[in-house]
């Protein structure tokens, strides 16, 4: 028995002047219910959240005061994944058989400006210009490139693919392809990353309608099963964002834990996955996450990317809607966008970005501060 996704809705990512984050969440929720063929009065419960755009449960004043259970989730980059975990668990437990998971956000332009005290860090760490997510990602990939022989060209190939895929996705923010040379020769933001290799904080919202399998069958909609939803925090010796110091003995990561738990729960392995959405805060993250999620050995990404194996039509298409690099990152919505895209692919509704070969198993992965990760595996 597993919970099924019976409806998906998205408010396009990017910038939408005149709409709040909550407005976009409401739009996504309505769109998901329309897709499922249900209305708000039938929804029995909801989990939702945003990182910076307010309390999700206030959307009942817009959707209808039906009195249902609506629980707010705030879990950094894992907000969407955590909402989905809670919603799926509510159905698996038998408590409910039809509910909603929603995530939304609207961030100001420019890099994130976290407050040290909210992360348990001393104020000097932010004051002296060390508390930037961009620095962390740059230093993580710099060391990874040094140890595992990954080239700058590979970073460029990831970004090139992101923009090519984003051009084919209606909900993406960046809709223009960018060629490899332009990406590699663009101004540096945080070496070795040029400006085209980073995603930007953005706006957007995603909602998913979940149902028990029996309920889904009675609705006569395509059935996409949530084979696994896992969320994990960091183990000792991991290299995480916002770390004034690291342990010399480097160990695992939140991603490795969440990924292993998801594969175990679903009873399958990385070789069974036919399409994957991996956290690509920047081009290096996608490369490292290919290995951390078990899809290849450290260093093999160089060959994978040179051969185009992660392109649509390759052996394992990755970030088929352009990922965070093309869609931007509204924190609360980003993880659910990956699940939305996987449902589109499993339904065969991807249009020009559809993964060929009638994919039946899809994987999604988010990662964020201060070392959290959420993974989902969907099966049709």
């Amino acid at each position: 028995m597993s919970a099924c996704i019976v409806g998906i809705g998205i408010h396009p990512f990017g910038r939408t002047d005149g709409m709040t984050g909550l407005d976009m969440g409401v739009a996504a929720a309505r769109s998901a219910m329309r897709d499922a063929g249900v209305d708000w009065s039938q929804i029995q419960f909801a989990f939702g959240g945003s990182d910076a755009s307010g309390n999700a449960d206030t959307m009942v004043s817009r959707l209808g005061l039906s009195g249902i259970q609506f629980i707010n989730v705030k879990n950094g980059c894992a907000t969407g994944g955590s909402a989905l975990f809670a919603a799926a668990s509510s159905i698996d437990s038998g408590e409910y058989d039809l509910g909603l998971a929603v995530g939304f956000d609207k961030h100001p332009r420019g890099a994130f400006d976290p407050k040290p005290e909210e992360w348990g860090l001393p104020s000097w760490y932010g004051e002296t210009g060390l508390m930037l997510t961009t620095q962390f990602f740059a230093m993580k990939i710099r060391r990874y490139m040094d140890i595992h022989g990954i080239s700058v060209e590979s970073l460029g190939r990831v970004a090139e693919k992101s923009f090519a895929n984003g051009a084919l996705a209606e909900h993406a923010w960046r809709r223009e392809p960018v060629d490899l040379e332009t990406i590699l020769n663009a101004p540096m933001v945080s070496d070795p990353f040029t400006k085209f290799m980073f995603c930007s904080p953005a706006e957007g919202a995603v909602a998913l309608v979940l149902a028990s399998e029996a309920k889904a069958r009675s609705m006569g909609v395509p059935i996409i099963r949530l084979s696994a939803v896992t969320m994990r925090t960091r183990p000792p010796g991991s290299f995480e964002v916002f770390a004034p110091a690291l342990e010399i003995e480097q160990g695992g990561s939140a991603t490795r834990l969440a990924s292993a738990a998801a594969f175990e729960k679903a009873g399958i392995g990385p070789g069974d996955i036919q399409v994957a959405q991996l956290q690509d805060t920047e081009a290096g993250a996608e490369i490292m996450h290919m290995a951390e999620n078990g899809f290849c050995a450290d260093g093999d990404q160089e060959q994978w990317l040179a051969e185009g194996r992660t392109r649509i039509g390759g052996a394992l298409p990755v970030n088929t809607d352009g990922g965070c690099i093309a869609c931007g990152e509204p924190i609360g919505a980003s993880g659910l966008r990956q699940v939305y895209e996987n449902v589109v692919q499993l339904r065969g509704a991807g249009g020009r970005r559809q993964v060929p070969g009638d994919p039946k198993v899809a994987y999604s992965h988010v990662y964020g501060a201060p070392g959290v990760s959420a993974v989902t595996i969907l099966r049709r």
């Binding site: 400006d113 004051e127 060390l130 230093m139 710099r142």
Partner: protein
């Protein structure tokens, strides 16, 4: 000119500046900075090794947002890195007195104290950084 450290008990200055870290009382694990508040009760205060090897690095090419950044309004890109202090912990800090194109993982660096910014009254605010060990070719 009057000076002040950017934070209390972050480092001990002198001929060979050293950072103030903590050693966990039961596990022996080293941390930096020394944990504030209640968490500090689990740690002994220790001075960290003054030098080590560059573990990774990047260049900060845009001015961080204020708040929290309190650096000068006029922005110059700066290097940031992690330096592995042998047998203890890998510490993040600014890298100074080194050309960006000379940075390479494994090069020897040591702790130093540098001017970071100025208070409104002209007081120089100091912080720690790492600089190449002379003669290392870095």
């Amino acid at each position: 000119m009057a000076t002040r450290p950017v934070a209390e008990d972050l480092y001990e200055a002198g001929a060979v500046p050293r950072l103030v870290g903590g050693r966990h009382r039961t596990s022996g694990r080293h941390v930096f900075p020394f944990p504030a508040g209640q968490e500090g009760a689990d740690y002994d205060r220790v001075l960290l090794e003054p030098s080590g090897k560059l573990w990774s690095w990047t260049i900060q090419r845009f001015r961080p947002k204020s708040p929290p950044y309190t650096g000068p309004e006029a922005f110059e890109p700066y290097a940031v890195g992690y330096v592995e202090l042998p047998g203890q912990v890998i510490v993040e800090g600014r890298l100074v007195n080194v050309a960006f194109d000379a940075l390479s993982i494994g090069a020897p660096f040591r702790t130093t104290i540098v001017h970071f910014t100025e208070d409104a009254d002209g007081t120089s605010v100091l912080t720690y950084a790492f600089e190449p060990v002379e003669g290392s070719g870095a």
